[in-house]
């Protein structure tokens, strides 16, 4: 079977400042990968780079939820499938949402526990609710690979588990950047540890433990 994602000797950076060095990585369809590392290690850059390489196969949950504050939660989630419809249909949905779309969006919102906020303005939501809206957008998008950049950082452990679970059901291949080691171990089959833009460790989660990973996060609150 062909790999879902293949990167070979990738280096990337922002205007002359290198962030990633010589990343070689292959992810098989169906894998659940957690990318961990201290802040500034290059997790977001790696996810954004993967998104840019595979935009037709991937749904992105960026670190900042980046919702359109003046639109309703419904419209913000619906934005996940704008490319699937004609512009005319999208305009119509903007003015008067069709019942079918309301049901579809309602479905993913229910999964993240936000059904009652369907018509609330996105700008009026709390940080955690905005994050769940962003997750719902990716779920509605439904592409086989989901790239989540700290997708549950604003949620408590119980909510985080539930949201990760429904997200994993929806997408075939899952790649999450996380800083919570326990949550990462719990919700992945494979852990990639980034340090200063290089892959330091790439092993199945079952071979790893909290205690073994902790030294790499020295100085950060865990």
């Amino acid at each position: 079977m062909a790999a879902a994602i293949t990167l070979e000797g990738l280096s990337a950076g922002y205007q002359g400042a290198p962030v990633l060095h010589d990343i070689t990585l292959s992810v098989e369809p169906g894998e659940r990968v957690a990318i961990i590392g201290r802040s500034g290690a290059g997790k977001s850059t790696l996810l954004n780079t993967i998104y840019r390489r595979y935009p037709q196969y991937a749904a992105l949950i960026p670190q900042a939820s980046s919702l359109v504050a003046n639109l309703s939660v419904f419209h913000n989630v619906f934005m996940g499938c704008l490319d699937r419809h004609s512009t005319l249909y999208n305009l119509r949905t903007l003015i008067r949402p069709p019942t079918a779309e309301l049901a579809a969006v309602g479905g993913v919102l229910e999964a993240v526990g936000l059904k009652e906020k369907l018509f609330a303005k996105a700008g009026e939501l709390s940080g955690g609710q905005q994050q769940r809206t962003s997750v719902a957008r990716a779920m509605l998008n439904g592409r086989p690979i989901v790239l989540g950049d700290e997708p549950v950082s604003a949620l408590d452990r119980v909510q985080a588990r539930e949201v990760l679970r429904v997200l994993c059901e929806r997408h075939e291949t899952k790649i999450f950047a996380m800083h919570d080691i326990r949550l990462a171990l719990e919700h992945s089959d494979r852990i990639i540890l980034l340090e200063r833009g290089r892959i330091l460790l790439d092993e199945p989660s079952s071979h790893l433990s909290y205690a073994r990973l902790l030294p790499h996060f020295e100085g950060e609150l865990q």
């Binding site: 954004n48 670190q63 934005m79 999208n90």
Partner: protein
């Protein structure tokens, strides 16, 4: 949070609908006819003229004087405005003076000043300096208030007010004051051009006769010259060149065409002309005199101010909505996100040309082409203001940080940028409402029966007292709309958003809420 029983909460949607509905309701009251016999043929001649500008016809001195009046008007108005700004938040009198000065349009000031100083440079310079002093006072005061006060807060105890100002206040905002003043020079040049239409020797003086005689090639050359001056403003108008420009302007001023002694004119103006007719002859201690005065005020209010105000509001309302529609339509044209690098520069160039075209001149030209009705005024006002708002929105659209998976094209427009910028759009619209209103009043001079129509008629019949009362009406109307616009902006919670068209918004918006939710600055990684 508002309590139950008070007004319903105003939202972006309901505010838009109310304004839209008002414009639709007044539309049947507006005269939108085209009465010219062959507007198409005339337009064709205009286009041909624009395509073959005749540069030999440029009246060089009119160009020099357009710049000279503008430079001196801004220098005088800016200095006065700076002084007023220092007392702005302490004195109600200063605030009221500034508000009155800026609520009367420079063309009205010119018409009035002509009674004293005739067709002279003093009239032109003061007609700019007086309203601009009011504008500078308000804007400078806002800049001072929004400035970063951290340096001031750590000054030693008992530092004097002047030292405070010189060390910790002025240096912090000096750059902003300079930028704004230089930007105002551009507006002042548009204003001095328009002053030519009432007889002062600027570019507008020649444009008026060219348009009237359909000499479009000559007019096009003169206008092109004006656009070049505006377009190169950043090259020749710099902080260090302004003193040189001011001194040179003083030496190059034209001679005043005789209107007798200025002192005698001042005495006549204030001692006789501007005093209401019933008070001139009658005894001030007599009750009948005041009764006559009362009925004089009442007559002018009912016969002139009332109908003039209604017509002004109708014109302003329709023009405002049309300007908004144009702005929303054109803002993608100046955005890199929609048109790409090359396209957005073309769009910008086009909008800059449109906004550099003085509305008054455009309305005059369109009236010549289409015949008298409200339509030319609506077109002129909406093009000018729509271009300005569209330009500002387009620049803001490029500053938005979008997610890596943001939609493109029409989806980006309808789902992302327009909803995100909508509050900002309303802030611009409400701010420009008052400016459109001021300009609508002025268009009366062109024959549309707004307030300016009555002012112009009164002045040309030398009923200066009536004109003065009408101007009070204009000022009250413009201040009322300004206050109402501010109230609406507060209700919509968009009062902190930038509204002015001057170069650096960023620097003075430190205390304003962000116009859109702050997003992490994720740049495109270079792979």
């Amino acid at each position: 949070m508002r309590k139950a029983g008070s007004l319903p909460r105003l939202t972006y949607g309901s505010a838009t609908r109310i304004f839209l509905l008002a414009a639709i309701l007044v539309l049947p009251l507006a005269d939108l006819s085209i009465s010219a016999v062959h507007p198409g043929a005339e337009f064709k001649r205009l286009l041909l003229g624009i395509l073959s500008p005749s540069f030999a016809a440029i009246e060089l001195w009119s160009v020099v004087w357009t710049v000279a009046f503008a430079v001196l008007g801004v220098v005088v108005g800016g200095t006065a405005g700076l002084v007023l700004a220092l007392f702005f938040d302490r004195s109600r009198l200063v605030r009221l003076t500034a508000a009155s000065l800026r609520s009367v349009h420079e063309l009205f000031w010119a018409l009035f000043l002509m009674q004293i100083t005739g067709l002279s440079p003093a009239t032109a310079i003061l007609a700019i300096a007086l309203p601009y002093a009011g504008i500078f006072a308000k804007v400078f005061a806002e800049i001072f208030e929004e400035a970063d006060k951290s340096a001031e807060n750590v000054l030693p105890y008992r530092t004097t007010a002047i030292s405070r100002f010189a060390f910790a206040r002025f240096p912090v905002v000096a750059q902003q004051l300079k930028t704004y003043t230089l930007y105002r020079l551009e507006c002042a040049m548009r204003s001095t051009l328009v002053l030519g239409f009432v007889g002062l020797p600027t570019i507008g003086f020649h444009l008026e006769s060219y348009f009237k005689e359909a000499h479009y090639a000559e007019a096009a050359a003169l206008l092109l010259c004006f656009y070049v001056l505006i377009g190169t403003r950043r090259l020749w108008a710099r902080p260090w060149t302004v003193p040189l420009l001011a001194v040179a302007s003083l030496f190059l001023l034209p001679e005043a065409s005789g209107n007798g002694s200025a002192w005698r004119n001042i005495a006549r103006f204030f001692g006789h002309d501007i005093i209401p007719v019933p008070l001139r002859s009658g005894s001030l201690s007599h009750g009948d005199t005041w009764a006559a005065f009362g009925s004089w005020v009442w007559r002018i209010t009912v016969q002139q101010i009332g109908p003039g105000t209604v017509e002004t509001l109708i014109l302003a309302q329709i023009a405002l909505i049309a300007a908004g529609a144009i702005a929303l339509l054109v803002y993608p044209m100046v955005s890199r996100r929609f048109l790409g690098q090359v396209g957005h520069y073309l769009g910008r160039a086009m909008l800059v040309v449109v906004r550099s075209t003085p509305e008054y001149m455009l309305a005059y030209l369109l009236l010549q082409l289409m015949g008298p009705s409200m339509l030319p005024a609506i077109i002129a006002l909406s093009l000018h203001n729509g271009a300005i708002i569209g330009y500002l929105l387009g620049r803001q659209a490029d500053q938005l940080t979008l997610r890596a998976d943001a939609p493109t094209g029409a989806n980006l427009y309808f789902y992302q940028t327009t909803p995100t910028l909508y509050g900002q759009f309303l802030a611009y619209m409400l701010y420009r409402w008052e400016l459109i209103l001021r300009e609508s009043a002025i268009f009366g001079i062109l024959g549309i029966k707004t307030l300016g129509y009555y002012v112009d008629a009164a002045i040309s019949e030398l009923r200066i007292d009536t004109a003065a009362l009408l101007l009070v009406g204009v000022a009250v109307l413009s201040m009322t709309v300004d206050a109402f616009s501010r109230h609406l902006r507060r209700r919509l919670r968009i009062e902190g958003l930038p509204v002015r068209l001057s170069a650096d918004h960023g620097a003075n918006s430190a205390r304003s809420p962000a116009p859109y939710p702050a997003a992490a600055q994720v740049q495109e990684p270079v792979v």
